[in-house]
Amino acid sequence: MIRLAQVSKVFNQGRHNEVRAVRDLSLELDTRGITVFKGPSGSGKTSLLAMIGCLSRPTSGRIHLEGRLISNLPERFMTAVRRDTFGFIFQRFNLIRGLTVLENVMLPAYPLAPAPSTLRDRALDLLRQFHLAERANNQAEWLSGGEAQRTAICRALINRPRILIADEPTANLDSQLSRELLALIGDLADQGKGVLISSHDPLVFDHARVSRVVELRDGRLA
């Protein structure tokens, strides 16, 4: 269970360009199934996911994960929670150019320092599972949009996280690839992973596998 209590996020606080992305939001989320945050651009979806995923801290309010307060941890512990609990799929994939697909997938595990052969086998297993085995040694920038998205999913899964966070995952995909992606995400949810998605794409929030839709507007629940 993820519990948010009166969470706010303010950027550039006290300056002329202050932005209140999330306002006093309280919410409880199941860590199983697929939850979609929908809303127009600027509604606070990404900021909310970033706070839940320990990428940033709320300006005020608290976030608990399975009863543990995670919103005010020091950077080092916050990173550990992020690394062990969450896997991220970014809107622009954010693969590192110049590295191979295999190296990109293995990257999140480097700080945990598993045995090299174990890590390599685990990454290759994931690539096989997502039909990318033959692309393992290709440079990330040579991949098509769909392949890059699947590589990003493999990377998100390398540390075996309990929860996947996907920020606008279909924004750079056509309808066919979007459906394929949603099927893959559905499979992961079936395997017991919790999935949190931010999207304003009807293909996503109207999808049959989605268990809950949370609508946001102007940083509040709509």
Partner: protein, 377 residues
């Protein structure tokens, strides 16, 4: 412990791939860095080997040289002083030396003319230092023509050339017989240039020098260790001058390195953001960048030092020799003995790698503390 080492290995792997992915930027830095190490290492290696070479050659020189002074200037030594000095306790041997300087207007160079104690050349013969032979274009069997201070012409047959391994201190030397020397300089028959004393026991050398100063107050004893110290100071001073000049280059390099590190490209900043977002700590990013800098520094240091070693010991320090060796015209042409001093390597390492690390750490740290949520926006 194993996990810690593995973690460093992963970070090092990533650093090396990161260096390879931006060859243009890193190659320029590597080249400048290598050049700086090369210049500094060449200076240090060459000066060190000059000192060592001079010390080796002077090791055979006498423990004490006694000169006479008149009005504070070097004056010729009366021959009867030889007998008085030879009787001092601790002195095993004493002999007078004949030597002097001669300016040769033909090649605008100063020669040192010396009568060797053992096996002096036969009358009419000379043995030349290689510098003199080069300057006058002479070989064995040729004739060296000089006009003495009184304007008389002299012609000497070149009987031999001095060995190249003494060239550092004997480049400008002309060896000749005592009669030729006295005739050439119109040198009085009852005089020597100075007197040499052999004192076998090193602990007695200073005591003997004190006795000389008391017994013959118009003389000046010169100890071998003083000559060595003078050489040391001279080469040290020359090294200092070159290093001061190179400090400017080192400073320019530090600014260059800072500029390079501060100017992290948008791509590099984005990469750091991604690494943090997928679970790397700030410390991991710093350690990765540390390995990147260490790989670059060590490569530049090793390459620069190796090039300097080749430059000094295989090409006789072609770039710096005129400044560091001295000699107005007759530059000695010698190949220094390969020699590496551990402390010197450590000092050079500190003065090149440390400034680079300090110059780059702050800009990298500023990039590494970027909020990871930047990559989501």
């Amino acid at each position: 412990m194993r996990a810690l080492l593995r973690r460093q290995r992963y970070l090092l792997d990533y650093s090396l791939s990161s260096l390879a992915r931006r060859p243009g930027k890193h190659l320029a830095l590597l080249l400048v860095y290598t050049l700086i190490v090369f210049l500094l290492a060449s200076t240090l290696l060459f000066t060190q080997s000059l000192r060592r070479e001079a010390a080796l050659v002077l090791a055979e020189s006498p423990e004490l040289i006694v000169q006479r002074l008149l009005a504070g200037r070097h004056e010729l030594m009366p021959a009867d002083y030889l007998h008085r000095l030879g009787r001092l306790r601790g002195v095993s041997e004493s002999y007078g030396r004949l030597w002097g300087y001669f300016y040769d207007p033909a090649v605008k160079a100063n020669y040192t003319l010396l009568v060797p104690r053992q096996d002096p050349p036969a009358p009419g013969d000379v043995i030349l230092g290689t510098g003199v032979a080069r300057a006058r274009g002479l070989g064995v069997g040729d004739y060296l023509s000089l006009r003495s201070a009184r304007g008389e012409p002299f012609s000497f047959k070149v009987a031999a050339l001095l060995e190249a391994d003494t060239e550092l201190v004997a480049s400008d030397l002309i060896l000749l017989g005592p009669e030729d020397f006295r005739r050439f300089f119109a040198f009085p028959a009852d005089r020597y240039t100075d007197i040499v004393l052999r004192v076998p026991n090193p602990s007695e050398v200073r005591k003997v020098a004190e006795k000389i100063a008391l017994a013959l107050p118009d003389t000046r004893p010169i100890l071998r260790e003083e000559i060595l110290r003078t050489y040391d100071a001279l080469f040290g001073w020359r090294q200092g001058v070159v290093i001061v000049l190179l400090t400017g280059a080192l400073l320019a390099f530090v600014i260059f390195a800072f500029d390079r590190a501060a100017g992290l490209s948008a791509e590099e900043r984005r990469e750091i953001g991604i690494l943090k977002a997928i679970g790397w700590e700030t410390g991991d990013v710093l350690r990765m960048k540390f390995w990147e800098g260490a790989a670059l520094s060590l490569t530049a240091f090793l390459a620069g030092y190796l090039l300097a070693y080749v430059h000094v010991f295989f090409f006789a320090a072609t770039l710096f020799a005129p400044v560091l060796k001295g000699w107005a015209v007759l530059y000695p042409d010698f190949s220094p003995l390969p020699f590496v001093d551990g402390l010197q390597v450590a000092t050079l390492f500190f003065f090149t790698v440390f400034p680079y690390t300090v110059a780059t750490i702050v800009p990298i740290w500023r990039a590494a503390i970027t909020d990871p949520d930047q990559v989501m926006r």
